[in-house]
Amino acid sequence: MDAAELRAAFAIARKELQVARRYPLQLVNEVLQPLYQFLLPSLLLGATFLVGGRAIGLEAVTGTADLAGYLFLGTIVGGLVGAAFWEMAFGLKREMDAGTLEPAWLTPTRPETFVFGRAIAALLIAGAASAALIGIGLAFFGASVGGGLLLALPALAVAAASMIGIGYLVASVVLLIREPNFFVDATNFLFAVISGVAFPVLVLPVFIQPIAYILPTTYAVDLLRVYALGTRPLLDPAVEWAALFLLAGLTIWLGRAAFRRTERRMRVRGTLGQH
Protein backbone atom coordinates (compact mmCIF):
# COMPACT_ATOMS: atom_id res chain seq x y z
CA MET A 1 0.00 0.00 0.00
CA ASP A 2 1.67 3.25 -1.11
CA ALA A 3 1.51 6.59 0.67
CA ALA A 4 -1.37 7.93 -1.42
CA GLU A 5 -3.41 4.78 -0.80
CA LEU A 6 -2.72 5.00 2.92
CA ARG A 7 -3.78 8.63 2.92
CA ALA A 8 -6.98 7.60 1.21
CA ALA A 9 -7.56 4.95 3.89
CA PHE A 10 -7.20 7.55 6.62
CA ALA A 11 -9.50 9.91 4.72
CA ILE A 12 -12.11 7.14 4.61
CA ALA A 13 -11.74 6.58 8.34
CA ARG A 14 -11.97 10.32 8.97
CA LYS A 15 -15.13 10.57 6.91
CA GLU A 16 -16.70 7.71 8.90
CA LEU A 17 -15.88 9.43 12.17
CA GLN A 18 -17.19 12.76 10.87
CA VAL A 19 -20.50 11.18 9.91
CA ALA A 20 -20.67 9.24 13.21
CA ARG A 21 -20.16 12.48 15.12
CA ARG A 22 -23.42 13.75 13.65
CA TYR A 23 -25.32 10.88 15.23
CA PRO A 24 -24.29 11.26 18.88
CA LEU A 25 -27.05 8.98 20.16
CA GLN A 26 -25.74 6.15 18.00
CA LEU A 27 -22.32 6.59 19.55
CA VAL A 28 -23.76 6.40 23.05
CA ASN A 29 -25.57 3.27 21.94
CA GLU A 30 -22.22 1.64 21.21
CA VAL A 31 -21.77 1.45 24.96
CA LEU A 32 -25.39 1.07 26.06
CA GLN A 33 -26.44 -1.63 23.62
CA PRO A 34 -23.91 -4.31 24.68
CA LEU A 35 -24.82 -3.41 28.23
CA TYR A 36 -28.53 -3.99 28.14
CA GLN A 37 -28.69 -6.47 25.28
CA PHE A 38 -26.02 -8.81 26.53
CA LEU A 39 -24.15 -7.90 29.70
CA LEU A 40 -27.02 -7.18 32.08
CA PRO A 41 -29.22 -10.15 31.08
CA SER A 42 -26.14 -12.41 31.26
CA LEU A 43 -25.06 -11.07 34.63
CA LEU A 44 -28.55 -11.48 36.04
CA LEU A 45 -28.73 -15.02 34.70
CA GLY A 46 -25.39 -15.68 36.31
CA ALA A 47 -26.67 -14.24 39.58
CA THR A 48 -29.35 -16.92 39.57
CA PHE A 49 -26.63 -19.58 39.96
CA LEU A 50 -24.65 -17.91 42.73
CA VAL A 51 -24.03 -19.96 45.86
CA GLY A 52 -23.19 -17.81 48.85
CA GLY A 53 -22.59 -14.90 46.50
CA ARG A 54 -19.98 -16.84 44.49
CA ALA A 55 -20.09 -18.12 40.92
CA ILE A 56 -18.83 -21.56 41.89
CA GLY A 57 -20.16 -23.23 38.74
CA LEU A 58 -18.26 -20.82 36.47
CA GLU A 59 -15.17 -21.20 38.63
CA ALA A 60 -15.24 -24.97 38.21
CA VAL A 61 -15.38 -24.69 34.41
CA THR A 62 -13.04 -21.75 33.81
CA GLY A 63 -10.97 -21.16 36.94
CA THR A 64 -12.47 -17.77 37.81
CA ALA A 65 -15.49 -16.75 39.85
CA ASP A 66 -15.33 -13.15 38.57
CA LEU A 67 -18.56 -13.31 36.59
CA ALA A 68 -18.55 -9.63 35.67
CA GLY A 69 -14.91 -9.65 34.60
CA TYR A 70 -15.49 -12.79 32.51
CA LEU A 71 -18.41 -11.21 30.66
CA PHE A 72 -17.03 -7.70 30.23
CA LEU A 73 -13.83 -9.04 28.74
CA GLY A 74 -15.88 -11.14 26.34
CA THR A 75 -17.68 -7.99 25.26
CA ILE A 76 -14.41 -6.43 24.10
CA VAL A 77 -13.93 -9.16 21.53
CA GLY A 78 -17.66 -9.14 20.78
CA GLY A 79 -17.23 -5.48 19.88
CA LEU A 80 -14.42 -6.32 17.46
CA VAL A 81 -16.58 -8.94 15.78
CA GLY A 82 -19.47 -6.50 15.49
CA ALA A 83 -17.15 -3.90 13.98
CA ALA A 84 -16.14 -6.32 11.23
CA PHE A 85 -19.62 -7.50 10.37
CA TRP A 86 -21.66 -4.34 10.75
CA GLU A 87 -19.31 -1.44 10.13
CA MET A 88 -16.79 -2.84 7.69
CA ALA A 89 -19.07 -5.09 5.67
CA PHE A 90 -22.68 -4.10 6.13
CA GLY A 91 -21.73 -0.43 6.25
CA LEU A 92 -20.13 -0.74 2.82
CA LYS A 93 -23.30 -2.31 1.44
CA ARG A 94 -25.31 0.52 2.97
CA GLU A 95 -23.11 3.04 1.14
CA MET A 96 -23.64 1.13 -2.07
CA ASP A 97 -27.42 1.24 -1.65
CA ALA A 98 -27.33 4.93 -0.77
CA GLY A 99 -25.34 5.67 -3.93
CA THR A 100 -22.22 7.05 -2.26
CA LEU A 101 -20.00 4.09 -3.18
CA GLU A 102 -20.16 4.51 -6.95
CA PRO A 103 -18.40 7.90 -7.13
CA ALA A 104 -15.76 6.57 -4.73
CA TRP A 105 -15.00 3.66 -7.06
CA LEU A 106 -14.51 6.14 -9.90
CA THR A 107 -11.32 7.27 -8.19
CA PRO A 108 -7.90 5.59 -8.38
CA THR A 109 -8.24 4.39 -4.77
CA ARG A 110 -8.51 0.61 -4.67
CA PRO A 111 -11.94 -0.71 -3.59
CA GLU A 112 -10.36 -2.89 -0.90
CA THR A 113 -8.99 0.26 0.72
CA PHE A 114 -12.58 1.18 1.52
CA VAL A 115 -12.92 -1.84 3.78
CA PHE A 116 -9.58 -1.07 5.38
CA GLY A 117 -10.46 2.59 5.92
CA ARG A 118 -13.81 1.69 7.46
CA ALA A 119 -11.98 -0.81 9.65
CA ILE A 120 -9.77 1.91 11.13
CA ALA A 121 -12.81 3.97 12.14
CA ALA A 122 -14.81 0.96 13.33
CA LEU A 123 -11.99 -0.40 15.47
CA LEU A 124 -11.37 3.02 16.99
CA ILE A 125 -15.02 3.34 17.98
CA ALA A 126 -15.16 -0.27 19.21
CA GLY A 127 -11.98 0.32 21.20
CA ALA A 128 -13.38 3.43 22.85
CA ALA A 129 -16.66 1.67 23.62
CA SER A 130 -14.78 -1.30 25.12
CA ALA A 131 -12.70 0.95 27.31
CA ALA A 132 -15.88 2.63 28.56
CA LEU A 133 -17.50 -0.74 29.22
CA ILE A 134 -14.49 -2.04 31.16
CA GLY A 135 -14.64 1.14 33.21
CA ILE A 136 -18.32 0.52 33.92
CA GLY A 137 -17.58 -3.09 34.79
CA LEU A 138 -14.86 -2.09 37.21
CA ALA A 139 -16.86 0.74 38.79
CA PHE A 140 -20.34 -0.73 39.10
CA PHE A 141 -20.22 -4.47 38.70
CA GLY A 142 -17.27 -5.53 40.77
CA ALA A 143 -15.18 -6.79 37.89
CA SER A 144 -11.66 -7.21 39.11
CA VAL A 145 -9.70 -7.20 35.93
CA GLY A 146 -6.00 -7.25 36.78
CA GLY A 147 -3.11 -5.37 35.22
CA GLY A 148 -2.44 -8.55 33.31
CA LEU A 149 -4.93 -7.18 30.84
CA LEU A 150 -2.11 -5.09 29.35
CA LEU A 151 -0.23 -8.29 28.51
CA ALA A 152 -3.16 -9.36 26.40
CA LEU A 153 -3.35 -6.13 24.38
CA PRO A 154 -1.08 -7.50 21.64
CA ALA A 155 -3.52 -10.41 21.28
CA LEU A 156 -6.30 -7.89 20.84
CA ALA A 157 -4.28 -6.09 18.20
CA VAL A 158 -3.73 -9.30 16.24
CA ALA A 159 -7.42 -10.17 16.67
CA ALA A 160 -8.32 -6.73 15.33
CA ALA A 161 -6.14 -7.39 12.28
CA SER A 162 -7.85 -10.74 11.72
CA MET A 163 -11.22 -9.03 11.96
CA ILE A 164 -10.19 -6.87 9.03
CA GLY A 165 -9.79 -10.12 7.11
CA ILE A 166 -13.22 -11.22 8.29
CA GLY A 167 -14.56 -7.82 7.26
CA TYR A 168 -13.24 -8.42 3.73
CA LEU A 169 -14.80 -11.87 3.65
CA VAL A 170 -18.20 -10.76 4.84
CA ALA A 171 -18.12 -7.71 2.55
CA SER A 172 -17.37 -9.95 -0.42
CA VAL A 173 -20.65 -11.81 0.25
CA VAL A 174 -22.74 -8.89 1.35
CA LEU A 175 -22.05 -6.75 -1.73
CA LEU A 176 -23.49 -9.44 -3.96
CA ILE A 177 -26.71 -10.30 -2.13
CA ARG A 178 -29.83 -8.18 -2.10
CA GLU A 179 -30.91 -8.34 1.55
CA PRO A 180 -27.89 -8.93 3.69
CA ASN A 181 -29.48 -8.10 7.05
CA PHE A 182 -30.23 -11.61 8.18
CA PHE A 183 -26.95 -12.97 6.87
CA VAL A 184 -24.89 -10.37 8.72
CA ASP A 185 -27.00 -10.57 11.87
CA ALA A 186 -26.89 -14.36 12.09
CA THR A 187 -23.22 -14.86 11.16
CA ASN A 188 -22.13 -12.08 13.51
CA PHE A 189 -24.09 -13.73 16.31
CA LEU A 190 -22.74 -17.22 15.60
CA PHE A 191 -19.17 -15.98 15.23
CA ALA A 192 -19.26 -14.19 18.57
CA VAL A 193 -21.07 -16.96 20.42
CA ILE A 194 -18.90 -19.80 19.14
CA SER A 195 -15.76 -17.81 19.98
CA GLY A 196 -16.72 -17.94 23.62
CA VAL A 197 -17.64 -14.29 24.07
CA ALA A 198 -20.68 -15.19 26.19
CA PHE A 199 -19.76 -18.55 27.75
CA PRO A 200 -16.91 -21.06 27.91
CA VAL A 201 -16.24 -22.84 24.63
CA LEU A 202 -16.10 -26.12 26.53
CA VAL A 203 -19.87 -26.13 27.16
CA LEU A 204 -20.58 -26.14 23.42
CA PRO A 205 -21.69 -29.50 21.95
CA VAL A 206 -18.71 -31.62 20.95
CA PHE A 207 -19.43 -31.33 17.21
CA ILE A 208 -19.41 -27.51 17.33
CA GLN A 209 -16.21 -27.11 19.36
CA PRO A 210 -13.85 -27.70 16.40
CA ILE A 211 -15.36 -24.62 14.73
CA ALA A 212 -14.38 -22.56 17.74
CA TYR A 213 -10.77 -23.66 17.34
CA ILE A 214 -10.51 -22.25 13.83
CA LEU A 215 -11.79 -18.80 14.79
CA PRO A 216 -9.06 -16.30 15.66
CA THR A 217 -11.35 -14.58 18.15
CA THR A 218 -11.55 -17.73 20.28
CA TYR A 219 -7.87 -17.38 21.07
CA ALA A 220 -8.07 -13.64 21.50
CA VAL A 221 -10.84 -13.83 24.09
CA ASP A 222 -9.22 -16.77 25.86
CA LEU A 223 -5.82 -15.07 26.13
CA LEU A 224 -7.53 -11.91 27.34
CA ARG A 225 -9.18 -13.83 30.17
CA VAL A 226 -6.05 -15.83 30.99
CA TYR A 227 -3.96 -12.71 31.48
CA ALA A 228 -6.58 -10.48 33.08
CA LEU A 229 -8.45 -12.98 35.27
CA GLY A 230 -6.12 -15.95 35.54
CA THR A 231 -8.54 -18.39 33.90
CA ARG A 232 -7.45 -21.83 32.71
CA PRO A 233 -6.36 -21.56 29.06
CA LEU A 234 -8.05 -23.74 26.44
CA LEU A 235 -4.65 -24.77 25.07
CA ASP A 236 -1.03 -24.00 25.93
CA PRO A 237 -0.82 -20.18 25.63
CA ALA A 238 2.17 -20.45 23.31
CA VAL A 239 0.06 -22.58 20.97
CA GLU A 240 -2.80 -20.09 21.24
CA TRP A 241 -0.53 -17.18 20.30
CA ALA A 242 0.75 -19.12 17.30
CA ALA A 243 -2.78 -20.06 16.24
CA LEU A 244 -3.91 -16.45 16.57
CA PHE A 245 -1.12 -15.14 14.33
CA LEU A 246 -1.59 -17.91 11.80
CA LEU A 247 -5.35 -17.47 11.60
CA ALA A 248 -5.02 -13.71 11.36
CA GLY A 249 -2.70 -14.07 8.36
CA LEU A 250 -5.00 -16.62 6.78
CA THR A 251 -8.18 -14.57 7.16
CA ILE A 252 -6.54 -11.44 5.78
CA TRP A 253 -5.21 -13.31 2.75
CA LEU A 254 -8.49 -15.13 2.10
CA GLY A 255 -10.58 -12.07 2.75
CA ARG A 256 -8.67 -9.86 0.33
CA ALA A 257 -8.78 -12.52 -2.38
CA ALA A 258 -12.54 -12.98 -1.96
CA PHE A 259 -13.14 -9.25 -1.97
CA ARG A 260 -11.15 -8.72 -5.16
CA ARG A 261 -13.16 -11.46 -6.80
CA THR A 262 -16.41 -9.80 -5.74
CA GLU A 263 -15.21 -6.45 -7.04
CA ARG A 264 -14.50 -7.98 -10.43
CA ARG A 265 -17.94 -9.59 -10.51
CA MET A 266 -19.55 -6.28 -9.73
CA ARG A 267 -17.75 -4.63 -12.63
CA VAL A 268 -18.86 -7.37 -14.97
CA ARG A 269 -22.45 -7.48 -13.73
CA GLY A 270 -22.75 -3.74 -13.28
CA THR A 271 -24.32 -4.07 -9.85
CA LEU A 272 -22.47 -1.19 -8.21
CA GLY A 273 -25.08 1.35 -9.14
CA GLN A 274 -28.11 -0.78 -8.43
CA HIS A 275 -30.27 -0.26 -5.40
Binding site: A4, E5, R7, A8, F10, A11, I12, R14, K15, Q18, V19, R22, Y23, A98, G99, T100, E102, P103, A104, W105, L106, T107, P108, T109, R110, R264, R267, V268, R269, G270, L272, G273
Partner: protein, 343 residues
Protein backbone atom coordinates in the same frame (compact mmCIF):
# COMPACT_ATOMS: atom_id res chain seq x y z
CA UNK B 1 -16.67 16.26 -40.01
CA UNK B 2 -13.91 14.54 -38.13
CA UNK B 3 -12.71 15.13 -34.57
CA UNK B 4 -10.50 18.14 -33.95
CA UNK B 5 -7.43 18.54 -31.77
CA UNK B 6 -4.33 16.35 -31.70
CA UNK B 7 -4.95 12.86 -30.47
CA UNK B 8 -8.19 11.42 -29.32
CA UNK B 9 -9.57 11.69 -25.82
CA UNK B 10 -11.85 8.71 -26.26
CA UNK B 11 -11.74 5.92 -28.84
CA UNK B 12 -14.24 3.09 -28.75
CA UNK B 13 -14.42 0.24 -31.26
CA UNK B 14 -17.28 -2.22 -31.29
CA UNK B 15 -18.07 -1.60 -27.63
CA UNK B 16 -20.64 -4.14 -26.51
CA UNK B 17 -22.33 -4.88 -23.19
CA UNK B 18 -24.69 -7.74 -22.58
CA UNK B 19 -26.58 -8.33 -19.35
CA UNK B 20 -28.37 -11.43 -18.12
CA UNK B 21 -31.93 -11.01 -16.95
CA UNK B 22 -32.73 -12.30 -13.48
CA UNK B 23 -30.50 -14.09 -11.03
CA UNK B 24 -29.30 -17.66 -10.74
CA UNK B 25 -30.27 -19.41 -7.54
CA UNK B 26 -27.66 -20.91 -5.26
CA UNK B 27 -28.89 -24.36 -6.18
CA UNK B 28 -28.41 -23.73 -9.89
CA UNK B 29 -24.88 -22.57 -9.24
CA UNK B 30 -24.00 -25.54 -7.06
CA UNK B 31 -25.41 -27.97 -9.62
CA UNK B 32 -23.40 -26.12 -12.30
CA UNK B 33 -26.50 -25.92 -14.45
CA UNK B 34 -26.01 -24.13 -17.79
CA UNK B 35 -26.92 -20.45 -17.66
CA UNK B 36 -30.20 -20.26 -19.53
CA UNK B 37 -31.03 -16.69 -18.58
CA UNK B 38 -32.25 -14.29 -21.21
CA UNK B 39 -29.57 -11.91 -22.37
CA UNK B 40 -30.13 -8.40 -23.54
CA UNK B 41 -27.71 -6.03 -25.19
CA UNK B 42 -27.67 -2.64 -23.59
CA UNK B 43 -24.84 -1.52 -25.87
CA UNK B 44 -24.62 -3.19 -29.24
CA UNK B 45 -21.33 -2.30 -30.89
CA UNK B 46 -20.62 1.39 -30.40
CA UNK B 47 -17.78 3.15 -32.20
CA UNK B 48 -16.72 6.57 -30.97
CA UNK B 49 -13.84 8.96 -31.59
CA UNK B 50 -13.84 12.01 -29.36
CA UNK B 51 -11.21 14.63 -30.08
CA UNK B 52 -9.33 16.45 -27.35
CA UNK B 53 -10.94 19.74 -26.41
CA UNK B 54 -14.34 18.79 -27.81
CA UNK B 55 -17.68 18.83 -26.13
CA UNK B 56 -19.10 15.60 -27.47
CA UNK B 57 -22.71 14.68 -26.88
CA UNK B 58 -24.41 11.30 -26.83
CA UNK B 59 -28.09 11.87 -27.46
CA UNK B 60 -30.80 9.25 -27.19
CA UNK B 61 -33.97 8.25 -25.39
CA UNK B 62 -34.03 6.48 -22.02
CA UNK B 63 -32.82 2.91 -22.34
CA UNK B 64 -30.71 3.66 -25.44
CA UNK B 65 -27.49 2.53 -23.76
CA UNK B 66 -25.97 5.94 -22.99
CA UNK B 67 -25.39 5.38 -19.27
CA UNK B 68 -24.05 1.88 -19.85
CA UNK B 69 -21.56 3.28 -22.38
CA UNK B 70 -20.48 5.97 -19.93
CA UNK B 71 -20.02 3.44 -17.14
CA UNK B 72 -17.78 1.34 -19.36
CA UNK B 73 -15.66 4.34 -20.29
CA UNK B 74 -15.53 5.32 -16.61
CA UNK B 75 -14.20 1.78 -15.84
CA UNK B 76 -17.14 0.94 -13.58
CA UNK B 77 -18.37 -1.68 -15.98
CA UNK B 78 -16.42 -4.24 -17.96
CA UNK B 79 -17.40 -4.53 -21.63
CA UNK B 80 -18.58 -7.87 -22.92
CA UNK B 81 -16.79 -7.28 -26.20
CA UNK B 82 -15.02 -4.53 -28.08
CA UNK B 83 -12.43 -2.13 -26.76
CA UNK B 84 -12.00 1.45 -25.74
CA UNK B 85 -9.15 3.76 -24.92
CA UNK B 86 -9.53 6.82 -22.75
CA UNK B 87 -6.70 9.36 -23.01
CA UNK B 88 -4.72 6.67 -24.76
CA UNK B 89 -5.19 4.13 -21.97
CA UNK B 90 -7.06 0.86 -22.20
CA UNK B 91 -10.18 0.95 -20.00
CA UNK B 92 -9.75 -2.62 -18.79
CA UNK B 93 -5.97 -3.04 -18.52
CA UNK B 94 -5.16 0.45 -17.31
CA UNK B 95 -8.37 1.16 -15.42
CA UNK B 96 -6.73 2.69 -12.38
CA UNK B 97 -4.62 5.07 -14.46
CA UNK B 98 -7.73 6.08 -16.40
CA UNK B 99 -9.49 6.94 -13.15
CA UNK B 100 -6.54 9.07 -12.09
CA UNK B 101 -6.88 11.33 -15.10
CA UNK B 102 -10.58 11.46 -15.65
CA UNK B 103 -13.49 12.95 -13.73
CA UNK B 104 -17.04 11.68 -14.00
CA UNK B 105 -20.50 12.74 -12.96
CA UNK B 106 -22.61 9.59 -13.18
CA UNK B 107 -25.03 10.26 -10.38
CA UNK B 108 -26.87 13.09 -8.69
CA UNK B 109 -26.76 14.72 -5.28
CA UNK B 110 -27.67 11.48 -3.55
CA UNK B 111 -24.10 10.34 -4.10
CA UNK B 112 -22.86 13.02 -1.67
CA UNK B 113 -22.65 12.71 2.11
CA UNK B 114 -25.46 14.94 3.29
CA UNK B 115 -24.29 14.84 6.87
CA UNK B 116 -21.00 16.45 5.88
CA UNK B 117 -20.27 19.94 4.57
CA UNK B 118 -19.33 20.51 0.96
CA UNK B 119 -15.72 21.08 1.96
CA UNK B 120 -15.63 17.88 4.01
CA UNK B 121 -17.05 15.96 1.06
CA UNK B 122 -14.35 17.39 -1.21
CA UNK B 123 -11.56 16.75 1.29
CA UNK B 124 -12.60 13.13 1.39
CA UNK B 125 -12.69 12.76 -2.38
CA UNK B 126 -9.47 14.70 -2.84
CA UNK B 127 -7.73 12.00 -0.82
CA UNK B 128 -9.48 9.29 -2.83
CA UNK B 129 -8.28 10.97 -6.05
CA UNK B 130 -4.73 10.92 -4.62
CA UNK B 131 -4.46 14.69 -4.80
CA UNK B 132 -1.11 15.41 -3.08
CA UNK B 133 -1.64 16.70 0.46
CA UNK B 134 0.23 19.94 -0.27
CA UNK B 135 -2.09 20.76 -3.17
CA UNK B 136 -5.34 19.72 -1.58
CA UNK B 137 -6.43 23.02 -0.10
CA UNK B 138 -5.82 25.04 -3.25
CA UNK B 139 -7.41 22.39 -5.44
CA UNK B 140 -10.58 22.37 -3.36
CA UNK B 141 -10.74 26.18 -3.38
CA UNK B 142 -10.36 26.17 -7.17
CA UNK B 143 -13.09 23.61 -7.84
CA UNK B 144 -15.48 25.35 -5.46
CA UNK B 145 -14.85 28.64 -7.27
CA UNK B 146 -15.33 26.93 -10.63
CA UNK B 147 -18.87 25.91 -9.67
CA UNK B 148 -19.51 29.07 -7.67
CA UNK B 149 -20.04 27.36 -4.34
CA UNK B 150 -17.14 28.98 -2.48
CA UNK B 151 -19.40 30.98 -0.19
CA UNK B 152 -21.42 27.90 0.83
CA UNK B 153 -18.53 25.48 1.25
CA UNK B 154 -19.00 25.05 4.98
CA UNK B 155 -22.72 24.39 4.90
CA UNK B 156 -24.03 20.86 5.27
CA UNK B 157 -25.04 19.33 1.97
CA UNK B 158 -28.44 18.44 3.43
CA UNK B 159 -29.17 22.17 3.32
CA UNK B 160 -28.27 22.56 -0.34
CA UNK B 161 -30.80 22.85 -3.14
CA UNK B 162 -30.83 20.22 -5.88
CA UNK B 163 -28.99 22.58 -8.23
CA UNK B 164 -26.28 23.25 -5.70
CA UNK B 165 -25.80 19.56 -5.06
CA UNK B 166 -25.40 18.92 -8.74
CA UNK B 167 -22.76 21.65 -8.93
CA UNK B 168 -20.96 20.09 -5.98
CA UNK B 169 -21.01 16.74 -7.78
CA UNK B 170 -19.35 18.51 -10.74
CA UNK B 171 -16.80 20.09 -8.39
CA UNK B 172 -15.99 16.63 -7.09
CA UNK B 173 -15.34 15.42 -10.62
CA UNK B 174 -12.91 18.32 -11.14
CA UNK B 175 -10.73 17.38 -8.17
CA UNK B 176 -8.24 15.28 -10.16
CA UNK B 177 -7.80 18.26 -12.54
CA UNK B 178 -9.00 15.92 -15.27
CA UNK B 179 -8.21 16.13 -18.95
CA UNK B 180 -11.52 14.42 -19.66
CA UNK B 181 -14.91 14.76 -18.02
CA UNK B 182 -17.74 12.28 -18.40
CA UNK B 183 -21.12 13.77 -17.59
CA UNK B 184 -24.13 11.46 -17.59
CA UNK B 185 -27.38 13.42 -17.88
CA UNK B 186 -25.96 16.28 -15.81
CA UNK B 187 -29.04 18.49 -15.87
CA UNK B 188 -31.76 15.92 -15.16
CA UNK B 189 -34.01 17.05 -12.32
CA UNK B 190 -32.73 20.62 -12.38
CA UNK B 191 -34.89 23.71 -12.82
CA UNK B 192 -34.23 25.69 -16.04
CA UNK B 193 -32.02 28.29 -14.34
CA UNK B 194 -29.84 25.69 -12.62
CA UNK B 195 -29.61 23.73 -15.84
CA UNK B 196 -28.50 26.86 -17.69
CA UNK B 197 -25.88 27.56 -14.99
CA UNK B 198 -24.52 24.06 -15.29
CA UNK B 199 -24.23 24.35 -19.05
CA UNK B 200 -22.29 27.59 -18.61
CA UNK B 201 -19.89 25.71 -16.31
CA UNK B 202 -19.46 23.04 -18.99
CA UNK B 203 -18.54 25.67 -21.57
CA UNK B 204 -16.00 27.13 -19.17
CA UNK B 205 -14.47 23.68 -18.81
CA UNK B 206 -13.95 23.48 -22.54
CA UNK B 207 -12.34 26.94 -22.51
CA UNK B 208 -9.86 25.53 -19.99
CA UNK B 209 -8.84 22.94 -22.56
CA UNK B 210 -10.68 19.97 -21.13
CA UNK B 211 -12.62 17.43 -23.15
CA UNK B 212 -16.22 16.82 -22.18
CA UNK B 213 -18.23 13.75 -23.11
CA UNK B 214 -21.82 14.11 -22.04
CA UNK B 215 -25.03 12.17 -22.42
CA UNK B 216 -28.44 13.70 -22.51
CA UNK B 217 -31.97 13.09 -23.72
CA UNK B 218 -32.60 16.85 -24.01
CA UNK B 219 -32.07 17.74 -27.63
CA UNK B 220 -31.81 21.49 -26.94
CA UNK B 221 -28.97 20.82 -24.55
CA UNK B 222 -27.12 18.70 -27.08
CA UNK B 223 -27.76 21.29 -29.79
CA UNK B 224 -26.54 24.26 -27.74
CA UNK B 225 -23.55 22.67 -26.04
CA UNK B 226 -22.00 20.07 -28.24
CA UNK B 227 -19.46 20.36 -31.02
CA UNK B 228 -20.48 16.93 -32.26
CA UNK B 229 -23.25 14.55 -31.36
CA UNK B 230 -23.71 10.81 -31.60
CA UNK B 231 -27.37 9.82 -31.72
CA UNK B 232 -27.87 6.42 -30.14
CA UNK B 233 -30.83 4.13 -30.15
CA UNK B 234 -31.12 0.52 -28.94
CA UNK B 235 -27.44 0.41 -28.10
CA UNK B 236 -26.17 1.54 -31.49
CA UNK B 237 -24.96 4.83 -32.96
CA UNK B 238 -27.44 5.75 -35.69
CA UNK B 239 -25.85 9.06 -36.65
CA UNK B 240 -22.75 11.06 -35.73
CA UNK B 241 -21.89 14.61 -36.79
CA UNK B 242 -22.12 18.25 -35.81
CA UNK B 243 -25.62 19.46 -34.82
CA UNK B 244 -25.87 21.58 -37.98
CA UNK B 245 -24.87 18.72 -40.27
CA UNK B 246 -27.31 16.36 -38.57
CA UNK B 247 -30.15 18.81 -39.03
CA UNK B 248 -29.22 19.24 -42.67
CA UNK B 249 -29.86 15.51 -43.25
CA UNK B 250 -33.56 16.28 -42.94
CA UNK B 251 -33.35 18.18 -46.22
CA UNK B 252 -35.31 21.06 -44.82
CA UNK B 253 -34.68 24.08 -42.68
CA UNK B 254 -38.05 24.51 -41.10
CA UNK B 255 -40.70 22.31 -39.62
CA UNK B 256 -44.37 23.13 -39.94
CA UNK B 257 -46.91 21.63 -37.54
CA UNK B 258 -50.47 21.68 -38.79
CA UNK B 259 -53.80 20.68 -37.30
CA UNK B 260 -56.45 20.09 -39.93
CA UNK B 261 -60.11 19.09 -39.93
CA UNK B 262 -62.67 18.77 -42.71
CA UNK B 263 -65.15 21.65 -42.84
CA UNK B 264 -67.90 19.46 -41.50
CA UNK B 265 -65.67 18.51 -38.56
CA UNK B 266 -64.61 15.10 -39.90
CA UNK B 267 -60.94 14.19 -40.58
CA UNK B 268 -59.60 15.42 -43.96
CA UNK B 269 -59.51 13.10 -46.96
CA UNK B 270 -56.57 11.50 -48.73
CA UNK B 271 -56.63 14.09 -51.48
CA UNK B 272 -55.53 16.79 -49.09
CA UNK B 273 -52.57 14.75 -47.85
CA UNK B 274 -51.54 14.09 -51.43
CA UNK B 275 -51.45 17.83 -52.15
CA UNK B 276 -49.44 18.44 -48.96
CA UNK B 277 -46.90 15.82 -49.96
CA UNK B 278 -46.33 17.65 -53.23
CA UNK B 279 -45.57 20.90 -51.36
CA UNK B 280 -43.36 19.49 -48.61
CA UNK B 281 -42.13 16.29 -46.90
CA UNK B 282 -44.69 14.82 -44.50
CA UNK B 283 -42.56 13.44 -41.65
CA UNK B 284 -45.22 12.48 -39.15
CA UNK B 285 -49.00 12.26 -38.95
CA UNK B 286 -51.26 11.56 -36.02
CA UNK B 287 -55.01 11.18 -35.88
CA UNK B 288 -56.59 13.01 -32.99
CA UNK B 289 -60.27 13.52 -32.14
CA UNK B 290 -61.74 14.90 -35.33
CA UNK B 291 -58.43 16.43 -36.44
CA UNK B 292 -55.27 15.32 -38.10
CA UNK B 293 -51.93 16.57 -36.75
CA UNK B 294 -49.28 16.67 -39.45
CA UNK B 295 -45.57 17.52 -39.26
CA UNK B 296 -44.00 18.63 -42.51
CA UNK B 297 -40.34 19.31 -43.28
CA UNK B 298 -40.25 22.31 -45.61
CA UNK B 299 -37.43 24.10 -47.36
CA UNK B 300 -39.27 27.35 -46.79
CA UNK B 301 -42.28 27.79 -44.58
CA UNK B 302 -43.03 31.05 -46.38
CA UNK B 303 -43.74 29.07 -49.53
CA UNK B 304 -45.23 25.99 -47.96
CA UNK B 305 -47.87 27.51 -45.67
CA UNK B 306 -49.85 29.35 -48.40
CA UNK B 307 -49.72 26.16 -50.47
CA UNK B 308 -51.14 24.22 -47.54
CA UNK B 309 -54.00 26.67 -47.17
CA UNK B 310 -54.72 26.41 -50.90
CA UNK B 311 -54.79 22.63 -50.62
CA UNK B 312 -57.14 22.81 -47.66
CA UNK B 313 -59.56 25.13 -49.46
CA UNK B 314 -59.55 22.88 -52.52
CA UNK B 315 -60.30 19.73 -50.54
CA UNK B 316 -62.89 21.22 -48.19
CA UNK B 317 -60.65 21.07 -45.12
CA UNK B 318 -59.90 23.73 -42.50
CA UNK B 319 -56.49 24.38 -40.96
CA UNK B 320 -57.09 24.91 -37.26
CA UNK B 321 -53.52 25.48 -36.12
CA UNK B 322 -50.19 26.38 -37.75
CA UNK B 323 -46.82 26.40 -36.05
CA UNK B 324 -43.47 27.02 -37.73
CA UNK B 325 -40.32 25.94 -35.87
CA UNK B 326 -36.71 25.41 -36.89
CA UNK B 327 -35.53 21.84 -37.49
CA UNK B 328 -34.39 20.23 -34.25
CA UNK B 329 -32.45 17.14 -33.38
CA UNK B 330 -35.70 15.58 -32.31
CA UNK B 331 -36.81 15.76 -35.93
CA UNK B 332 -33.52 14.13 -36.91
CA UNK B 333 -34.14 11.37 -34.36
CA UNK B 334 -37.69 10.81 -35.59
CA UNK B 335 -36.53 10.62 -39.18
CA UNK B 336 -33.89 8.04 -38.22
CA UNK B 337 -35.91 5.89 -35.90
CA UNK B 338 -39.57 6.72 -36.44
CA UNK B 339 -39.94 7.48 -32.73
CA UNK B 340 -39.72 10.60 -30.60
CA UNK B 341 -36.88 11.13 -28.11
CA UNK B 342 -39.32 11.44 -25.25
CA UNK B 343 -41.61 8.47 -25.82
Amino acid sequence: MTARGDGLAVEAAGLLKEFEKGRRTLLQRLRREPDRRERFRAVDGIDLAVGRGEIFGVLGPNGAGKTTTMKMLATLLEPTAGSARVLGLDIVRDAREVRRRMGAVLSDGRSLYWKLTARENLEYFAALYHVPAAEQRDRIARVLAAVKLDDRADDYVERYSTGMRQRLVLARALLPDPELLLLDEPTVGLDPQSARDLRDRVRELQEQGRTVLLTTHYMEEADQLCDRIAIVDHGKVVALDTPAALKRTIGATEVVHLEIAAEDGAPPNGGFLGRLERAGQVAHREQREGTLAVTVHAESAREFVPAAFDAARAEGAAIRHVEVVPVTLEDVFISLTGRALRE
